[in-house]
Symmetry: C2
């Protein structure tokens, strides 16, 4: 407690392919100061880190200097928690062909401990620290965005596995025959159906295999996004609602399998698809109840992230900072 | 260390529907004394516990008295680790209609801490304490017997979930369409295919859907057991070997999904089916390599239990005793 009183803040970095957003956060999850740089503007990681430090220095000074800061947490693609590295991240100009020891680089410049993990794990820790999973020891976070990511908490700890990369629930197989091609090169992955792109694809499939009237027919099929589907569903479009039913049913089936593994007290959903609210959550819950092994029935809550969407990634990243064992 | 020197033993109880086998075990997994009673001979749990204590007293005296014993571990069906109970166990005369606080009952009679968990979890702890998973922090135990059970270790701890019942990997769904009916009432569970009964059923299916010659045709289909399949396969019977290929392929696919969850350093297999050796392990490994998400490829070992089959259950149960926090 003394250390938290003396060093009341952590730095969070949400490192995306386009933007890098920094926040200085207190233990209640209040963001005290924030800044950002363009991730893409630097061809070398050393330049990226130098530019980050320059931007950070200003907000560090705003909160009283580096002595007020306990640690830094980074949420980034292809992050290896154990090694503190980003490994062959296809979307990072300075990181797609190599292993970047990013935690160590920031730690040397700032003089504080730095940890790094992937976005979905950061989201799970953020939810456990500041959000709807506060106090929970066993829950599964599913991030429904461009892809389907996951962060798994068991016995109060993030599951990293033997290599630091555990928790790729977007890549469990939901269709073993005639499954959709996934970005990972395999077929039938959960992500191929239940990501934002998967939802748009389901809509296009439903449109092409029926003559059912739909607001979505006013668009070119290739232009339809998951956002368009949610807008149509919000207006009562039956086909669009069936897209959510289909997506939610599959998520419910997947969660039923995850329960057989971990028997979590909650599934927490995060990301664009959750904006559809009951349209997606109701079929998830219904399908889960129908499919789950009897022992686990009625035990798990289904929750939507409690963190504000625009700052959730920075909060999640910052939350890793509190957990660092010095 | 002092406590272990003063109390060098734990008691293990392998509580099955027919027999209850007790062993007194040291920290290296040597069984110093053993005894057994018939589980079925008692209609009341109090009689069962009294008979157990009478039998135990003799072997406790053999090792120098109760002061030499740190704790007792019980492996039992439908065991709830958190509550120390057996809950509605269909195979137990005195336990199929109620919740039995068995850990507390033994603890009161013996004056030592007692913990209880299901057989597969006990097997996993046994493997971690005395067997091939010694020193591992992340592994998954799959018991291939009458059913398919599992014990999952993450960050060095057994996964119990929010209710004490996590780790039912025999009941993840492997066939979502036209799946086999499982004993749990759902269809397509791993257990319906990869248990001993599942293997016999696969053999009957293969026999009935082809005219391929097979040694198994000398038997009545309904009499075929997984043991018969292994004997035929051992003699080079092609159909019997294909039964193992089919079973191993499905186990490999299932393990690929489990890797996406936990990225374990090993899968440890236990039970009758493992006696088939490479006949089952080779197709498991091949299928796993084909199906696993690229990040996890080549990282997990596939091992057969290192514990002697006849004493493995007692050893596993006893191993829980070392873990009890007093």
């Amino acid at each position: 407690m003394i250390s938290q009183a003396l060093k009341p803040y952590v730095i969070g970095l949400d490192l995306g392919g386009t933007n890098s957003v920094f926040g200085i956060v207190d233990s209640r999850g209040d963001i005290k100061a924030t800044t950002a740089i363009k991730t893409q503007s630097y061809s070398q990681v050393s330049e990226y880190v130098d530019a980050s430090i320059d931007a950070l220095q200003i907000i560090i000074d705003q909160v009283g200097g580096i002595d007020k800061i306990k640690a830094m947490g980074i949420g980034a693609p292809n992050a290896n928690f154990y090694k503190g590295t980003i490994e062959y991240a296809p979307n990072l100009v300075w990181g797609h062909e190599c292993v970047v020891p990013l935690a160590e680089m920031f730690s040397q410049k700032l003089g504080i401990p730095v940890a790094i993990t992937n976005d979905a794990n950061a989201a799970a820790i953020g939810e456990m620290t500041y959000g709807v999973a506060r106090g929970m020891k066993n829950f599964i976070m599913l991030t429904l965005g461009t892809g389907v990511g996951s962060g798994i908490v068991i016995n109060g700890q993030l599951v990293y596995g033997c290599d630091g990369f555990a928790g790729e629930l977007g890549h469990v197989i939901m269709r073993r025959e005639n499954g959709r091609l996934c970005g990972c090169g395999r077929t039938g992955c959960l992500e191929a159906y239940c990501s934002a792109t998967g939802v748009a694809r389901t809509a296009r499939e439903f449109l092409s295999t029926s003559n059912e009237p739909s607001l979505l027919r006013d668009m070119k099929p290739e232009d339809i996004t998951s956002f368009d589907v949610s807008v149509a569903a919000g207006k009562g479009d039956e086909l669009a609602k069936r897209v959510y039913d289909f997506t939610g049913e599959m998520l419910g089936e997947a969660c039923a399998d995850f329960a057989a593994f971990a028997s979590p007290e909650a599934f927490v959903f995060f990301g664009g698809l959750t904006k559809a609210g009951d349209l997606i959550m109701d079929p998830i819950k219904k399908s889960y109840d129908e499919h789950v092994f009897h022992t686990f029935r009625g035990k798990a809550q289904f929750l939507i992230s409690g963190l504000d969407g625009s700052s959730a990634a920075v909060l999640g990243a910052s939350a890793i900072g509190w957990d660092i064992q010095e």
